[in-house]
Subunit: 284 residues, 2 copies
């Protein structure tokens, strides 16, 4: 899952170029309000609206579509009532709606939502507390007090498929929908490689010693600001011990059971875990 836009990052630092993008007849904006994305009534697509005079505090230049049409994101969280801007759509939970959306559309809206979240959570300087200015088409914030520069934040995290021969270990976080099981996951810490994080998280979450982490792939997960990096591992032993603060259940699943799920399901195609589990079923 990755945005389909060409970011045209070289334009960002040129205010005239960003203004020209904004004035393009095919320029459009997607709106985010307090973490919710403006989708059509059926929540299948985003509403991409012409750019009006801006009533919002935050606007980000996302780049161009494959057709060369400029795309922006705006965050309206400074407004109490945004019905007037909904244009027949509604502000919806993108992660939930994403299950039924076209992947490319979901990617683009998630990118917009991630940038909006960063602006909302980064309005003040971490160094001195002063309110930050915005620059570079929304990709930089600067402190008029101490001069600090702040760039968008992305938190790297690992997704871990623990395997043992013909079986893999899936677990449930308390916040999951009922009956959903998935791979293990955890955030990378300062001073850690991705591989070291895989070993630590496997030990912490299920008490097993992971061996031989194998890279699977990566995907952005801007809910609100993660980057998932997937690894498949083998483990010593099979008797796991749950970290009950993180997980409410776990169990071993055979390839055959995963191929014909009964009484459980695993995450949908928008999640990296889905693709890791599918590859495992196919014998990878």
């Amino acid at each position: 899952m990755t945005s389909s836009f060409d970011r045209h990052a070289h334009l960002r630092a040129k205010p005239d170029a960003v203004a020209a993008e904004r004035a393009h007849p095919e320029a459009r904006v997607t709106l985010v309000w307090r973490g919710k994305s403006l989708l059509d009534g059926e929540r299948r697509n985003g509403l991409w609206l012409p750019l009006p005079e801006a009533p919002w505090a935050i606007e980000v230049y996302l780049g161009r579509t494959a057709d060369g049409h400029p795309r922006f994101a705006a965050d309206l969280s400074n407004l109490e009532d945004v019905e007037a801007y909904a244009e027949g759509g509604r502000f919806s939970d993108l992660m939930r709606a994403g299950w039924g959306m076209d992947p490319a559309e979901l990617h683009d809206l998630a990118y917009a939502r991630g940038m909006a979240h960063w602006h909302r959570s980064t309005s003040h300087c971490g160094n001195c507390g002063t309110e930050l200015d915005t620059a570079d088409g929304g990709f930089k914030r600067q402190c008029p007090g101490c001069g600090a520069t702040v760039f968008p934040r992305t938190d790297p995290a690992v997704m871990i498929l623990v395997t043992k021969g013909d079986r893999c270990l899936l677990a449930r976080q308390p916040r999951f929908p009922p009956q959903m099981y998935s791979a293990l996951a955890g955030f990378v810490e300062p001073g850690e490689s991705l591989e070291a994080c895989v070993l630590r998280e496997t030990k912490e979450e299920v008490g097993l010693e992971a061996l031989n982490p194998r890279y699977f792939g990566s995907q952005p997960w801007p809910f609100p600001q993660s980057l998932m990096v997937g690894y498949t591992v083998d483990v010593e032993g099979e008797d796991f011990q749950l970290d009950e603060e993180e997980l409410e259940a776990a169990r071993w699943f055979s390839r055959e059971e995963l191929a014909n799920p009964d009484g459980f399901f695993y995450p949908p195609a928008m999640s990296l875990a889905h693709h890791m589990i599918r590859a495992f079923i196919k014998g990878a």
Copy 2:
């Protein structure tokens, strides 16, 4: 490169447990002052000092050594004069000193330095500007104003070895030591997979279309807070066009030339780029 400590992350949320770690007779602390690490006179090792009454504002529980000895980091940047704490060592640039250090020692000190940097740059709430409290052994900061929680920040970045048959493309950033060439590098943006970032950065920095990114490995690079993820790519064509804001030179190097460097060098063993280039020389 990754820290050798067992982080004992489950202890962090228990103030009594962290206090017991601190009171352990073999507990030691490494000091960081305004980005510099306290090293011995020859800058070969860190000075790990007994824990005194703390004159510093920030203290982080790093975990335990393989021998079970607790280790802490402290940031003294709130003090103007720290000579009295140097204990015969000196506050030094860790990245520079790292070229001659034992890898395990460098990892541990870099982890400490990364945590100290995060605290220094995150003393105020990004949401409302209030001064943050510290919790969880230094792994969490909390806002007494709006209730926001902030975790340590790590910026994922890609390292890209562009290859074409028997040759690879190395480049110079203006800040590099004279005659040093390295792989391309760039930060991941919100809404981007690591692979998409590899393609975008290759295009932006040298104007070439990258194909088929292959994962190499990862390492923390807390100077101040990056995580490097390495990929080897092939490219279409070979006539590159430099982004002159990022790079001052680039050229193709054959395997033979890299095996016997003359008039140039590539990064030392502390860098992921070193290992990528070494693997390329060996035919990977």
